[in-house]
Symmetry: C2
């Protein structure tokens, strides 16, 4: 294996590892909300520091790979996609931190019994995140397409959650109910953004593999 190819394999591995850290952050931060476990949040903040460092290292690696090897075609597409995916992963970590912080705020109040469809949304979004990384790791554009198709379902669930929570807010004069409903809305919004980042990654995978930019409804259907 050429030295360059080894470095490219190394870069891919680094991103997959980073993605696994981000997935952990998402899982734990949702547990902070659902299981109401304050202790867990420390882990999220610790992993965030690691992910932030990874982001800088990956970008630096990509720049050096370009400068020293002057890649073209699919190699160059791989490296620039890696830079973009790197940025999406870091922002996914930020969303997880936000979810975690909202979870901590919710701990100050008694539990708002039903979490509405949030657990359903969590399942769908974490699946999208997992599969988007998998599609990158395996250069599997069919899987990437499958993830893109799930985006509408996420929007739909979010709309339902918003409608239900709005009813809660309207039917109460209790201050804490309003605060808690708001926090759950923001959580749903962040889950939606996690799904958006997963679709960004899938669009990058498709571009990386076949050189076709499918953003902004250039999607093949």
């Amino acid at each position: 294996m050429r030295h360059f190819d080894m470095e490219m394999t190394e870069l891919k591995k680094k991103l997959v590892d980073m993605a696994s850290l981000v997935q952990q952050m998402i899982t734990i931060s949702i547990d902070v909300v659902v299981k109401r476990d304050k202790e867990l949040s420390k882990e999220v903040f610790a992993i965030e520091r690691e992910v932030n460092l990874d982001e800088i290292v990956v970008d630096d690696t990509c720049l050096k790979l370009i400068a020293l090897n002057q890649p073209v075609g699919s190699d160059l597409r791989f490296i620039t996609s890696a830079m973009r995916i790197n940025s999406d992963l870091e922002r996914m970590g930020d969303e997880a931190v936000n979810i975690c912080e909202t979870g901590l705020e919710l701990l100050e109040y008694p539990e708002l019994k039903p979490l509405i469809d949030i657990p359903k949304m969590v399942i769908l979004v974490t699946e999208m995140v997992k599969e988007s990384i998998e599609s990158f790791n395996l250069s599997d554009i069919e899987l990437a397409q499958k993830v893109l198709e799930k985006d509408d379902a996420v929007d739909e669930i979010k709309r339902t959650i918003f409608k239900d929570l709005m009813e809660y807010m309207i039917c109460t004069s209790d201050r804490t109910t309003i605060v808690r409903a708001m926090d759950l809305m923001f959580t749903a919004k962040r889950l939606e953004r996690l799904g958006d980042h997963a679709t960004n990654i899938c669009e990058d995978v498709i571009f990386m593999v076949n050189g076709k930019d499918i953003r902004h409804n250039n999607r093949p259907n």
Copy 2:
């Protein structure tokens, strides 16, 4: 001037033009909220299509510049920063569209009299956006630093807006007041994100000019 330098100047001009479109989108979308003018929204959607196309063209230009010229050092940093700024600009356009859509929703209800500190936040954020582009155009890292320093003030105003709107929601049993207050909260949240994108651009400018990655509190103070 070498052909490569001409193309680099062209790329910079393209991004500055794209940024000016995005600034227009932001200004108009805020007018939809503040002046309650439905007609204006059409313009936002029209400019969005242009910005989306620009994003694809800029990325393509950047890839070709790398592949055909094998730049290193500051040239390479300029091109990869351009790709990142490109992505931030497109996402800023998305936020403007979201603000515009919220504005359209608000038109369905009578005006919630005071817009709280939202106009103040608008002034600060549009200033950050304008200066971030200017710092890119002039490679002015001092200006970039100045923008970064404004981020805390934005967070502070957002917190005040949230607190004030929350009071509205708690003191009312009127459905539409809750809906309108929520919409204004989401607008404030989006303004905050516009400020975040402006800081991303400034971090890129600093990296582009002096090669120092200042993300994640690597900021010199």
